[in-house]
Symmetry: D2
Subunit: 349 residues, 4 copies
């Protein structure tokens, strides 16, 4: 019963098979492999963006910070949510790869910046001439770090605010697929049609071994990316193994199927938790990640029974039984109904 | 007939199998996977260095620059050969990851710094108080970018010079295995017993998909490495796939066997070239990488016949037939005698 | 009637005379001038810190960020107030000079972090392993950007929190002298005796042309400072002109006299404003900088009458007469009673 | 007898007087002072460049590295001479302010890059796709670090090479005035008419306390400069004291008069040295800085007699009398004939 993260699960067998298939003979290095040509075409098709520039890297943080480096000057500030991955979980990589830009934290509702909170944050910067940081790009996480999802109109509204100030929009899509299938919209609708300029299009958390695509809808934005990727030491020599993963991921809608599986498991969990009187699910999340408050005794029972997930707010094994602690549950594509039901059973007691 | 680079070849089937084996069920992320424990132990055993700190990354450049970042302050300079990979082929990644350190280029003989050239370069720095860069680590490439190999006593002599000035020694071992089997010595003899403090221990060029170990023989040198790796976006969430590659690589001497194959192919090429009257092999290299001068017409014949390798000094298809151009040939672990012989046949005409 | 900033006023004539005196003949460059020896001794005496390391730079931002660079690693975060100069007014210089560290903004009361808000902020970091930033130094501004002053026990309490986590403490003393004379304590009491490790000791805002001392109470903390200053391009060749300013500043308590003058003018303003029924003085500041709310019509009258100061919250010349806007008034050492009274007269109408 | 550097001498009395004059009353900060308006106009006039963008900083290194930051991307390399100040004497500040660019060292004749050596260096870069650094700006020092001067046609020829590759040209003019009066040309002829894009226009070494102008002939090149200066902590609050220095420097050709004095002293030294049989003057320099080889005994006599200058190649007080050592002599604007003659007398014995 592993619910600690969607990066703890295995890669899909079709992804593994693609690696094996790609392993025959020689191939040009550094992104000049033929599979990359296919990947580029597929991603352009998926996004209905024939001009898009596409690059592969191996980690989600690399995708985020290399994109932010291209969109942000060192004397600017990135507008992002207070709980964004780039703020909380990348060990200052955004600052490093932008050459020292700042992150301005924007208040959220349900882990989502709102047009109002974003506008206020933007308005508060670039008010002191050269003394303060200048306004830089807006970074939106979809799905959010709390499991909530921006509706297409939410993204459109945030982008509209950014556009009012001439700012670029980045989408951290580490869980892009989970959000997409939850919304039942197209990738284009969730991105460039809603004003997004560049996307970290995640594969790692959704059934790949380690691959993310950096997608720029305006090719000119991407001009410096190849140099930034190389000097960031993120250009793979045996690049075909990145290409192969992404190719399999996009073939026959595998990526969407995996996201649907993960979300279905997440929703099964959600329904189960909602029926427990002592449990409060936070944020009503529609995808594969959820937070819930429950008494310590419930968490302890689940963990002692073999469930693996993070508990915040206190030690689940030390303190009053009825103190409420917050658990985080993440379902990956391989999560089975039996595991969900077993966890629910443990929590129920 | 692919001789363009040892990063163009496939991964070994045992490495691929290890990936498949590692793909079962859930595993802790970010290096806390159980296979990493095995890898750490194996590398300590291989190097006879039970205290060594070991970290995995996916690219050779990442290994080099993350290690240099830990060993070098931003106001120092790294002493390296004029043709070192960190100078020539990493797009300023060393400068980026050290926070702006300089590289001082040291003259070579057969692509190797000598104790004299190194000492002169060191002596020329730190002579101007705070105005010039301060002396930083020495970085040695083994095998070198020209296919030559430092003997153990060469490394010992270079390290001794570094020690005279209190400087740390880094070994760029992208082709560590090829050098090792050429020298027929132990990893310990080629590294810490010869004064090396930290090694980029390459797997990618020698049969892995993409994995390198950063090995620090003095644990205190590695204190900042975990933070540097994370903020460099080089910490893999699904780390088990790095661990599995390295584990297979080290199992049953697979790494040594592959290096021996590659070197054997290289030596077969060398012997063949040495028998051609119009050809001059540069540097007499003992491993899997060699440079040779030959008339344009020979290169043209080989390339037109289907051989893939780099030619320098002019366009192999445009110019006088008898002008001498330099070719670079690299044999990877999977290079077969038939391919070598076919190339030699084409060159011979 | 210039109340826009204490960096708009002239330098004191004794400082100017010191420049003239220092201008005779030749002097060693880059801080080896004999006056610097005197300055070092004087600052050690002033702070009762015979081991302190002392360096001069020309701008307050340079002092802050060079000190923070020595105290903070690139993967750490600096704890500072939401309105600190390093956050608001240094155009990402702290991020630049620390190599990409983050700033964690701590809530304030009267522009002062409290032990509780500081502790909460520290507790919230370094909770996510290598993923989040690591805890770095605490930076306190004295006097604060809102004109309030930390009592000695306030600094001691903040430092005690920092010490609980092994963190260093920096004091941004751009208005050190104004705070000191307001508190009527010794420099030692306000700094190292209260747990401060390093001080930006300002001269520029208090009667110098442009000089700040960076004072480290633990010499080992300063080891990298000379290199950081030089590579920051902040080491003056004709350093004697920095030394001469600081020397005059410290001679015969000139610095304290100037701060007392500035504070007296500030307090005269404060008393005058407090007697105006439509005016609310914010924060009850004890030194030379104050913020006050007043109707637009009052601000307009003062500005139209020739007063120079910043008005925030709206255009003082456009909008309803009775809307309250915030003015910022700063008195420098040269501010005369007549100017204060004239401003008060204009405001009164 | 101070010949150690032109940064050891005093400022000119007219510069000091200008500081006193500027010290009356209040002035707007951060470059908005009225004197800066005059300075901007004067520099545009001096350079016959009405569109030029002009900024003041306090150190020569700041001028160089802030300009290079605007002209160079982090993944590029600056082409400069092997003995350039930016390479030798700025403690990696160029690397720091460019975000990690490299410096490619170009061989010189008489301390000057030649069109051939420059072209070869440029040709050798940007040959390895994204792997090597990309070609960045060319930086020329005028007068050179060895006291030689590029003729106008030399600068034009170097710029022409740069233009062939689309590269920008920076002129490090720490000794701009000394070169200019030696050449007897106009500032425009020595800069933009000869293909220079941006100049570090030095004042510090030539009679100011510490001021340098950064002059951009193409305003668009300067777009990021204000932010770079501020985040480099190089924007002075009490900017009027920089403005006043530069204003006096440019008034009534004071800068040219001072350079002529310094050069005259240098030439008097040169003629004296040329008449000494045991002395070899290196490079035949036309300005205020020269290097000469002389026996140890001569150097010892001069130093023991009270002369101050740098001796390279050995300890002047320890070794055989007749070993040749190299002395460096620099004359500043205040250097008097008597001092020159006294030094010559000591050398002569």
């Amino acid at each position: 019963m592993f619910f600690a993260s969607d990066n703890g699960g295995p890669a899909h067998s079709q992804v593994m098979q693609a690696l094996l298939d790609a392993n025959a003979g020689y191939a040009s290095a550094y992104g000049a492999d033929p599979i990359m040509e296919t990947v580029r075409r597929r991603i352009r098709d998926v996004f209905e963006a024939p001009q898009a520039e596409v690059f592969l890297v191996a980690t989600g943080t690399a995708a985020n910070v290399l994109i932010l480096g291209t969109l942000c000057q060192p004397w600017q500030t990135v507008f992002c949510s207070t709980m964004s991955h780039i703020q909380e979980d990348e060990c200052n990589a955004p600052e490093f790869f932008t050459g020292g830009a700042k992150l301005t934290l924007v208040e959220t509702e349900q882990a989502r910046m709102t047009p109002d909170t974003l506008r206020r944050a933007i308005e508060a910067e670039e008010t002191r001439g050269v003394h303060g940081p200048q306004r830089g790009p807006v970074s939106i996480t979809q799905a959010t770090e709390k499991g909530t999802v921006h509706r297409v109109e939410d993204i459109r509204a945030l982008s509209a605010v950014a556009r009012d100030y001439g700012l670029k929009v980045h989408l951290d899509g580490a869980r892009f697929a989970n959000a997409l299938v939850a919304l039942d919209c197209t990738p284009a609708e969730m991105t460039w049609k809603a004003g997004v300029d560049a996307v970290s299009f995640g594969g790692t958390k959704n059934g790949a071994l380690g691959v993310e695509a950096c997608v720029f809808f305006n090719p000119e934005d991407a001009a410096s990316f190849p140099f930034r990727r190389k000097r960031g030491a993120h250009l793979f020599s045996k690049h075909r193994y990145l290409s192969a993963q992404m190719n399999a991921y996009l073939t026959d809608d595998l990526w969407l199927d995996m996201a649907r599986s993960a979300n279905a498991a997440g929703q099964r969990l959600l329904r189960g938790l909602q029926q427990m009187p002592d449990v409060t699910v936070l944020h009503e999340p529609p995808a594969n990640l959820l937070f819930f408050d429950a008494p310590r005794s419930m968490h302890r029972r689940a963990l002692d029974g073999g469930a693996l997930y993070y508990v915040m707010g206190g030690d689940p094994h030390d303190g009053p039984d009825d103190e409420m602690l917050t658990g985080r549950l993440v379902c990956d594509w391989s999560c089975e109904d039996a595991a969900v039901d077993e966890l629910l059973g443990l929590l129920r007691g």
